[in-house]
Symmetry: C2
Subunit: 330 residues, 2 copies
């Protein structure tokens, strides 16, 4: 009744921001991401009658309040699927900073779906796992699979066609890299969930965002399959700026940008103008991720050394999806 | 044949960004501004047969190239109106930093319209002056009048209903203040004129911007007349964020924000959360202007001292429009 899963976080090239169904976590638009080697979370789930109640420990800290309620709600979904009443003990550990826009919820949600379904005795395929992971965190539906993944928004009201699918094998484009530079490890202030809900309700640009992102999700899949790096980079940058514009124009405005975010944006654009091909993307936090190819890593690393705001960098290639491992956390 | 005019720059609360007619400088949406005491430009124009060609000196520097061609084009409009073939010598001096988003073109354009029309022998009323100033620079149409001014976009194809009108007397709300904090005196990189043209052509949010700004221009006039400071501040902040979102999503993206811009935005929001009522607005440059009331000036000044990025501040109340003065610059 104990199982442990490992999964990598994913970074979206075309972002998810806003639900059409809050309970089922169905998105307004399709999104496309890369599951990244090295941004790893490991989660052990144990369902046992010895537990009187659910219990969740993240990075050594016992979690309570709203974050715990989310996990407990997810466990109820699993228990209902398995016809079980057992309570669970969960240990989860991120091997990269939590809740700083480095997409830890995507990796966490994917490991939780895999480990808890296995521990409770369900044997789900990848589609089933992605559908389940989505119920915990939308972006988690994309971390079940390896490499480039599309989360199609789907059309069905019950959400059974809204899950992550591989665009191509993870080794299809081995030169592709995303560099996550950690600028600031402070916990972000506006959580994504209430933030995106406010955007759907109040942002005057929201409809345009949905229409454009849906188109861009289709376009970027094509650019991935044709390995058109320039087109991909330009489109990802455009989508990220569009996302933050939607956030800026939400009531009240959501400003994830920090001073250092702008410094990084300007640096990337300057490097590109001088012939070093790289692009940026930014999620729900101040972090700027750089999209580039392997050949340019040495030069980009050298340039990043000149930026004092960066504490640490993670250089990631397309990585594995969620998988079971034998070494339990407790 | 020599005349000198003084005018103050204006800062828009609801911004102008994009033309529906490039040649006549007719805007896509109405805008509302405050003409500010202390952000002054003085311009002397002399039309005389001794000049073989037009000649323009700004802040002691002879201007050539595209900026000169713009002035020469404007002088041709004046000459046509007056039926004159005389060439002009122009001296203009800003008493605040040029081309840093501190709206120097609004003051410059207003002085040029008044001084040149007077020097060539035309006697225009305020409407005529505003219509003329608009041909030089859109925002200049708002600096002819004092205090709170609306530039109605108008409906006519010839632009004769697109000019600046006072919302109320300049002394109607004497407690109203705008603090312009100079962060960085470097010349901005993207000039407004080509930038806004690109936004009209490529920004997916542009239509929403126009519709919303048009509504907001009407709303803010009401808030000014009712002296509803909180509503005015919130609306101005929303409009500024919407403007910069449009810029971000122009192809290629226009990012006037600097690191210091974001630092200032966050500071203003933090001060406000702690009970100090102030709002920000941002134009086509990195500068952040603070909208506040006279009573809060000492506390805001004290807080601004803690922000190292600020070199200098201008505390401005609603000021005079364009007027003739006797002291010529040459």
């Amino acid at each position: 009744m104990k199982a442990t899963a490992s999964a990598n976080a994913n970074i979206a090239l075309i972002k998810y921001w806003g639900k059409r169904n809050e309970e089922l976590i169905l998105p307004q638009n399709s999104s496309v991401s890369v599951t990244l080697e090295g941004l790893k979370t490991v989660t052990t789930v144990d369902f046992d009658k010895k537990y009187k109640k659910d219990n969740f420990t993240l990075n050594g800290k016992k979690i309570s309040g709203e974050p715990f309620e989310r996990i407990a709600g997810f466990l109820n979904i699993i228990r209902k699927m398995a016809g079980s009443g057992l309570k669970a003990k969960i240990f989860s550990k991120n091997f990269f900073p939590t809740a700083t826009g480095l997409a830890s919820s995507s990796a966490g949600g994917a490991t939780l779906a895999l480990a808890s379904s296995k521990a409770i005795g369900l044997d789900l395929n990848k589609k089933g796992l992605s559908l389940l992971a989505r119920r915990n965190s939308g972006s988690a539906s994309r971390s079940i699979e390896a490499g480039f993944v599309e989360w199609e928004k789907g059309e069905k009201e019950d959400g059974t066609d809204s899950f992550g699918k591989q665009v191509c094998d993870k080794d299809y484009w081995p030169e592709f890299r995303i560099i996550a530079g950690v600028l600031n490890e402070e916990e972000k202030k506006t959580k994504s969930r209430p933030g995106m809900k406010q955007s759907v309700q109040t942002c005057p640009f929201y409809k345009v965002w949905v229409e454009n992102s849906e188109k861009q999700a289709k376009q970027i899949k094509k650019f991935i399959l044709e390995k058109k790096f320039t087109k991909l980079g330009e489109l990802a940058e455009n989508n990220a700026l569009m996302l933050h514009s939607v956030m800026f124009n939400t009531i009240l405005p959501i400003v994830y940008f920090s001073e250092k975010t702008v410094e990084m944006i300007k640096a990337v654009r300057k490097w590109r103008a001088s012939g070093l091909e790289c692009y940026f993307t930014i999620d729900a936090g101040p972090q700027v991720k750089i999209i580039c190819l392997e050949k340019d890593i040495p030069e980009i690393k050298r340039k990043l050394k000149g930026i004092k705001a960066i504490k640490k960098i993670y250089i990631c290639k397309p990585g594995d999806g969620a998988r079971l491992i034998n070494k339990h956390l407790f």
